[in-house]
Symmetry: C2
């Protein structure tokens, strides 16, 4: 394959937006320049969406100006429900039916690919990472929220509505901002782990990694919050095993950077609780919290493939 050129990949998260110039093409992508900026948070969902589009245009211009040079295409992925270039809904960022692909194409002076953050992360892990070579696998990034990319029967499911494992009721009874009770997300997302520790300890932490460090240092509240997240995730993985029977579940996002501190207790509890279902292997994402960005780069290359 000839040099497919460099692309700008932008992964819009609930808290942080990660951007990178990615080189090397879809078989062997290499992240060459990274930037992380706060995702714009306005009072209104449509304003949030417009601010995201402006941010992408600004990032593209800034990368081009600096020593990185122009990019061949831009890949942008966002959370929530995404269908046919439209951000149908994001619980965290509030937009409804915003025409991202169209708006980005106008705002950015390069071909634009637009997609779903978690589907993109799933694509990256399935083509190149911890889900490679499998026919039935769930890739579950755990960041500000929790969702999942489903690869079933050897094919990624790209319907737009599937995979919202963060908002299944796992029985804890607490009210979730989505309007339901008991959502996995509300106890086990990286943001929820930090929030719950803050609520109980009165201390402010910047993220779930800090909670894990506190737990390891003997903080009982931190250990309790971490344990509750693992308990909740076990129920989520069990549900996936029952309903979808994947060969493997790949954990991604910020929380999965914990590695063995997450997969160790999760594996033990899954073994205790699973009965007739196929036991999925648990792995952490090969690209860590960068799967979404690499997936966005894959989409960008697809958009300009000859």
């Amino acid at each position: 394959m000839s040099d497919p050129g460099r692309v700008l990949a932008v992964d819009v998260g609930g808290t942080w937006t990660k951007a990178a110039v990615v080189e090397g093409g879809p078989e062997d992508p290499a992240v060459r320049a990274r930037r992380r900026v706060r995702t714009p948070r306005c009072a209104d969902g449509t304003e949030n969406a417009e601010a995201v589009v402006a941010l992408v245009a600004e990032l593209a211009a800034r990368f081009a100006e600096r020593d990185h040079g122009p990019v061949e295409a831009v890949g942008v992925v966002v959370p929530g429900i995404v269908q046919d270039g439209v951000g149908v809904h994001s619980v965290n960022l509030g937009w409804r039916d915003y025409p991202f692909r169209e708006a980005l194409a106008k705002a950015v002076g390069a071909p634009v690919a637009f997609g779903h953050d978690v589907a993109a992360a799933g694509l990256a892990e399935w083509r190149l990472g911890a889900a490679r070579g499998l026919t039935d696998v769930v890739v579950m990034p755990i960041g500000t929220g929790i969702a999942s990319a489903l690869i079933l029967g050897g094919r990624p499911l790209t319907g737009g509505y599937a995979g919202e494992i963060g908002h299944v009721d796992i029985g804890h009874g607490e009210q979730c901002p989505c309007g339901q009770r008991g959502c996995l997300d509300h106890v086990a997302s990286a943001a929820s782990v930090a929030r719950r520790f803050g609520e109980r300890s009165g201390r402010t932490v910047r993220g779930s990694a800090e909670v894990l460090r506190a737990a390891r240092a003997g903080d009982r509240v931190a250990a309790e919050v971490w344990d509750e997240a693992v308990t909740a995730l076990t129920r989520g993985v069990l549900l996936l095993a029952t309903l979808l029977g994947p060969q493997r579940v790949v954990l991604g996002g910020g929380l999965a950077l914990a590695g063995e501190a997450l997969t160790g207790p999760l594996n033990r509890r899954l073994t205790e609780q699973i009965t007739f279902q196929r036991r999925p292997e648990l792995r952490c994402a090969a690209f860590g919290a960068e799967s979404g960005c690499i997936g966005a780069a894959l989409l960008a290359w697809e958009a300009v493939a000859p």
Copy 2:
């Protein structure tokens, strides 16, 4: 298409085995002769499987003997986890890793197709019935047990492990024979509705239809048991909406013969509880409790297709 001939279709259920001669071919199947016999129940799972094989051979011989004449092929579908012609496991019938396809081929003097009862029901409803023309649909027969056939992205999922919606934890806390607690099946299957009414009322009923009749006649215990089943099924459908986002959920099996008495309250509760998910339409199976049998006939025709 030339006359594809008549086939024998056998749907092995947890309680009843339904057999029929089906004519007319895969575009327009017509059930011409029906038999219903009790599914053999032995102490041991392997004996159960062997008894099922013997029963199919006997049914084939008996249908051939009588005025129905010989069949071109036999389609047999069984519950549980089925993969590559093997009955991997059935919670209700107890077998593990029984080589059905091989054993049936030896025992029956005609080409044999073997498959999963719920996948077959899904195929029938998707090709010809209440799920026709849709790309994302879940077909959920509710009989002795509850499972589901998943058609996702325009393709039936045939992995063998997926779809066990009957054994997701919906939070009622009761112990299920599968080893887990809170299973949907244990409260909402047709068999469970009959069992729970019997336990609470001290009366023996033959099936869920009798419980519904009692509820309609003003029996408070029956109304309570039916209501708990609907509540549980609402949680099951909500889970499917969250995780898979189907356009439609087709309810089948004996319980769905209740029609509006089931879909009415289920629709109302789903509307109350659903928030951001795509709202699936609810339909009852076009072939009622015969979807599995018609699916088995489709498999039989596929096995002898030129």
